[in-house]
Amino acid sequence: MIRVQQQDFDPAEEYRALRGSGSGTGAIATFTGLVRDSGDLDGVTGLFLEHYPGMTEQVIEGLVREASGRWDVHEARIIHRVGYLSLGEQIVFVGVCSAHRGDAFAACEFIMDALKTSAPFWKKEITGDSEHWVEQRAADLDRTRSWE
């Protein structure tokens, strides 16, 4: 399940769906990203998120396929929001269920790391009086390469 949307999401609903995926599920790992008050800039009051419709979904589907090839993944649910988001709002959700916790953690973290470096989203930080397109962080690229 992959969704790119403006509206907010409820992690509890996603968790319920993952939990309902079958009697062989023993482990559910989730990650949620929030808008926080310091990124490249301090005093961030919001973000603007742009994406490339169509390509985004294809890239994320590819990441889920790749994760499913490497680990035991019963189901993966991914939501990424776009548009204007305020401080504290939810940006992204990745949830994975599996028989085993190691696979659930690894697949969840792999997808999340790869989302940051492979999926066509761009983030602009907004402070009281300025805007600033976020630069890709070398640390994010390094994290993604560490899975290769």
Binding site: G33, L49, E50, H51, Y52, G54, M55, Q58, H80, I91, V92, M112, L115, K116, T117, S118, A119, P120, F121, W122, K123, K124, W133, V134, E135, Q136, D140
Partner: protein, 87 residues
């Protein structure tokens, strides 16, 4: 969308803003590569000059990431954008 003998070019994020262009259409010349198209667009000068190596530009053709030597076909959709920063 591109018609018979054209290529659709898209820009995103900082590039879309600085070039003040989300989409444009170019003629599909035989053998034209994505990298060559980028170089040609840089030749327009002004903010367009940055396309020629000043900052990293990622390339997708038909919504798949690709390298500059990719040859473009009539009807292709090519996108240029800064390194991604989602998540």
């Amino acid at each position: 969308m591109a018609t018979n003998n054209t290529i659709t070019v898209k820009f995103f994020a900082r590039l879309r803003e600085e070039l003040d262009t989300a989409t444009l259409t170019v003629e599909a010349e035989p053998g034209l590569t994505a990298g060559r198209l980028l170089h040609d667009l840089a030749g327009k000068g002004g903010n367009w000059a940055q396309l020629d190596g000043a900052l990293p530009v990622m390339i997708a053709v038909n919504q798949v990431m690709t390298k500059p030597d990719k040859v473009l076909q009539p009807g292709d959709e090519v996108a240029f954008f800064p390194p991604v920063t989602g998540g």
